[in-house]
Amino acid sequence: MGTASSPSSQSASSESVLDCDVLVLGGGPAGTWAAFEAAAAGARVVLADKGFCGTSGATAPSGTSVWYVPPDAGRRHAAIVSREALGGHLADRSWSARVLDTTCQTLHLLGERGYPFPLDEAGAPIHVSLQGPEYMRLMRKLAKGAGVSIRDHSPALELLVDEAGAVAGARGIRRQLGDLWRVHAGAVVIATGGCAFLSRALGCTALTGDGHLMAAEVGADFSGMEFSNAYAIAADFASVTKTLFFKWATFTDEDGAVIPGAASNGGRSVIARHLGNGRVFARLDLADDAMRASMRTAQPNFFLPFDRMGIDPFSQRFPITLHLEGTVRGTGGLRIVDETCATRVPGLYAAGDAATRELICGGFTGGGSHNAAWAISSGRWAGRAAADFGRRVPSGGARRGAGTVGLRDAGARPFDPAAAARRVMGEVHPYERNYFRTEGRLTDALGRLDGQWAALSASAASDRNDVLRAREAAAMTAVARWMYRSALARTESRGMHRRMDHAGADPAQRHYLTSGGLDEVVVARRAAPALPADMASGVAA
C-alpha cells in the first residue's frame, strides 16, 4: 500500500471507510506496542478499541509486575528455569529468552520516553513494575506520537477477508455515535485481551473473547485453552483483585477459626472449597508496619475499597471471594505459528492475552509478570511483522465480512444477548465446574454450551443496539467450548488445569493441545519442545 503516513478515508453509504496498512484491534499494552512498532516501521496504522485506549483492559486500572531481568546470562537462565515446574514443563526456553530480552530493552525505552520509574538508593531506575494508569496514558501518547490513528469506543465486530482468504481489515461499531466503521488493511493484529467471562475482576469487563471469535471465523486456532481457570482473591464487595497481597493474610471461617491450609499460593483450592460451603474471611495481619506502608504505595487502588468501606484490612477481618480471570491470567489463546506472532491465517497476527502464553509460562502464570512481558514482546513482534506484511499487500480488491453468529440472519429466533451471557457465566464461573474439573461435569457443561451455540447460530441477526452484546455472548460461548473441550482432552492435572478424576501430571501428556472450530470443536495434540538436558532426569515430565 501507499507511503502516506496517515490512513486515507472515504465515505461509503452509512459506513465510514478507512484504508491503512495495519489495523490493530485492542488498545491495551499489546495493542499499543503493536501499533507503535508498526508505525515506527513506516506503516499507516489504525488502532480500534472497544473502550478508551489508555483506560480499557486489564492493565490500565491495575499495577503490574513485569518479568524484568537485566542482561546477565546466569540470572536470566535462573529466572527461566525457576518457573518451569510450575508451568508443567511446557514453556520453551528460546521463547522465554527472547521475551526477557525484548522486555528489558522496552522498559529501558519506556524510561527514556518519560515513564517515572522509582529509583534505588544509588539513583538507578527499578524496572520490575508498572503503574497501570501511568503506563497506559503514556502508551496512548507514544502511539499517537508515532502517527497511529486511535479510534476509541469502536469495538470490532468481524474481520474482513479477501478473495484468497487472507485477512484484509475489519468492521465494527462506533458505540457512542451508533454508526458503523470499516477499515481496509493489509494486515490485522488481534490484541483484544483474554476472556474473563464478565466476572467482576478488575478491568475485565471489556474482555469477552471477541478477538478469539473473530479469528476463529477466519480459520485461526488456539493452544492451551485448558489453562483458562485462573481465579484471583478479592474482598467480596470489591473488584480489585491482588492475590499477591494475600500472602500476608490469615484466612478464617465464619467463627473466626483459622482455615488449615488456606493460602494465596498453594492453598487457593482450600479457599475455593470453603467458599462452596460458607464465607471465608481474611485479615492481612502478617504484614509488619514497613510492609503495610510499602503495600499502600505499591498499589493505592487496592486500598480504595477498604478506605471507602471504613475497613482496616490489616486489623479487621473482611469476607473474600475468588473472581474468575479466565484466560486473562490463564495462558491459553490464539496459536501462533512462528516468531513473528503470525496465526495460521495469512495477514492475521496475535499479541498479548489474546495469544497463547504457554511458550513462556506453560500452564500457569503464577503471580503475573510474565503476561505483562509477553504483551510487550508479542506486541512489538506482531506489529513489526504486520507492517512488513501489510505494506506489501496491494490495496483494493473485493472483501467480505467473515462474521457469523449475531451478524447474519440464520433463522427467525431472536437472540437475547443478556440471557446467553448469563448462561455461559453459569457454566464457567462456579468453582465446582471450572476450578475442580471432572469428566462428568465438563461433559454436562459442554452439552449445554454446544446447545447454546447451535441455538445462537440459528438466530436472527441482532440490531445495531444489541449487536455488540450479541457478539460478546457468542464469543464467550465459543471460548467456553474450546476451554472445556481441551480440559476434557487433558486427562491429568498440569499447570492450573486441575482434574479431580486425574490427580497429578501424566508424563505421557507433556504436550500442547490445539483447539478450534465453531460448529464442530476439535482438539488435537502437538509435541512440546524436548525437555532440556538439565531437566530430563528427575522430572515427572
Binding site: S129, H153, M291
Partner: protein, 108 residues
C-alpha cells in the same frame, strides 16, 4: 460502582464520557453527564483519575450500588483521593515516581 457526579463541582467537560472504558456516561448538553448505564460500571476508578474537578465518586461496592446521592457526598478527603495518591494532582505530582512494588515483591 459509580454513584455520584457532583453537579456543584462538574464543569461539563465530558472527559469522563470519553475516558470511561465501559461507556457508562452519556453527555447532557449544557450540564453534567448522566450515569446512563450504571450496570456496565466495572468499578475501575478510572473516571475519578481523569476528572479534573474531582467531581465523581465511585462507591467501593462492585456488585451493587450503595444508593448514594449528591446529598450523601462523602467527605472531601475521599473525593479525588485516588488521583492524589497516584500523583495526578499538581500538589501530589511527586507520587508518580513512588512505586514500592519492588519491596512487596521481595518482601518476606
Amino acid at each position: 460502582m459509580i454513584e455520584i457526579i457532583s453537579a456543584a463541582r462538574c464543569t461539563g467537560c465530558n472527559i469522563c464520557v470519553t475516558a470511561c472504558p465501559t461507556n457508562v456516561f452519556a453527555p447532557v448538553p449544557g450540564g453534567a453527564p448522566r450515569i446512563a448505564r450504571p450496570d456496565d460500571c466495572q468499578t475501575c476508578f478510572m473516571c475519578e483519575l481523569y476528572c479534573p474537578e474531582d467531581a465523581l465518586y465511585v462507591a467501593p461496592t462492585a456488585l451493587a450500588p450503595q444508593g448514594l446521592t449528591e446529598g450523601d457526598m462523602p467527605a472531601t478527603t475521599l473525593l479525588g483521593s485516588y488521583r492524589a495518591a497516584i500523583g495526578w494532582t499538581p500538589a501530589t505530582a511527586a507520587n508518580r515516581a513512588v512505586d514500592t512494588m519492588h519491596r512487596v515483591l521481595k518482601g518476606d
